[in-house]
Symmetry: C2
């Protein structure tokens, strides 16, 4: 029995619509995951962020350029290696972070109404393994490109 990515992607698109209706923030569309990732762990490299978010390095660079132009992030040299830039959220990004986090948590909770704890436990365990597999394939693709 295969899984249906169609269903997984539909859930993602519904979430995007929910976020759009609940939030009045000028974050570039579909980039909320970046805000959550940057604020959750400030001071990471661009490459670490790309790997966390499962996007390629050139896409992350482009998105961070936009965020920098809009005043949402700062790139600061690493104290250990000045050539290496680390990504930090600005006050402007930290100000929108709680709202984005709240809407995300609310959505997550809305989805599971009426589903038993036992089923959710199995669901989450399979979901994590599927994500692990997806990340493995993603990593192989990134390494092939080098």
């Amino acid at each position: 029995m295969p899984i249906k990515m169609k269903v997984i992607n539909n859930i993602g698109r519904c979430q995007a619509a929910f976020r759009k209706s609940e939030l009045d923030i000028e974050i570039p569309p579909g980039r909320h995951a970046y805000v959550l990732a940057i604020c959750r762990e400030p001071g990471r490299t661009q490459d670490a962020l790309a790997s966390d978010l499962c996007v390629n390095k050139s896409s992350v660079a482009r998105v961070l350029d936009t965020f920098e132009e809009l005043g949402y992030v700062e790139r600061r040299p690493s104290p250990e290696d000045k050539r290496c830039l680390l990504i930090y959220p600005t006050e402007k990004m930290l100000a929108v972070y709680p709202q984005i986090r709240e809407v995300t948590l609310r959505w997550n909770a809305l989805l599971t109404e009426g589903i038993s704890e036992g089923e959710l436990e199995i669901f989450n365990s399979v979901l994590m393994r599927i994500e692990g597999r997806a990340r493995e394939i993603f990593k192989e693709l990134s390494e092939d490109k080098k």
Copy 2:
């Protein structure tokens, strides 16, 4: 126990990277779901397509404009109501459909390696209910906008 949309969205982004590496087609980025939906059921209205794909009507209209410009779709008047336009794939879209479908099915199968049938059954059953819930919320949002 809530579910983690972060994990669900990561799987989606890994799939996008996989598709990009496996396919050499000029489909606008992230629009493969449209090709699958249009070819699976040709002759639907724009609104039916929006609802199937969980995107708002103005986004679907914009994406279909691009597809039309690239020669991938045709809008033809419905035989029952000439004012109503139905969406059909062109030969150009039908030519890329089998490749997109093959890569999608291959990805779906890769993800579930090593997961037992019993677990997958529960996983898929919960996933369908979560999607149903997500669609309900999406529908409410679309109705609020009217």
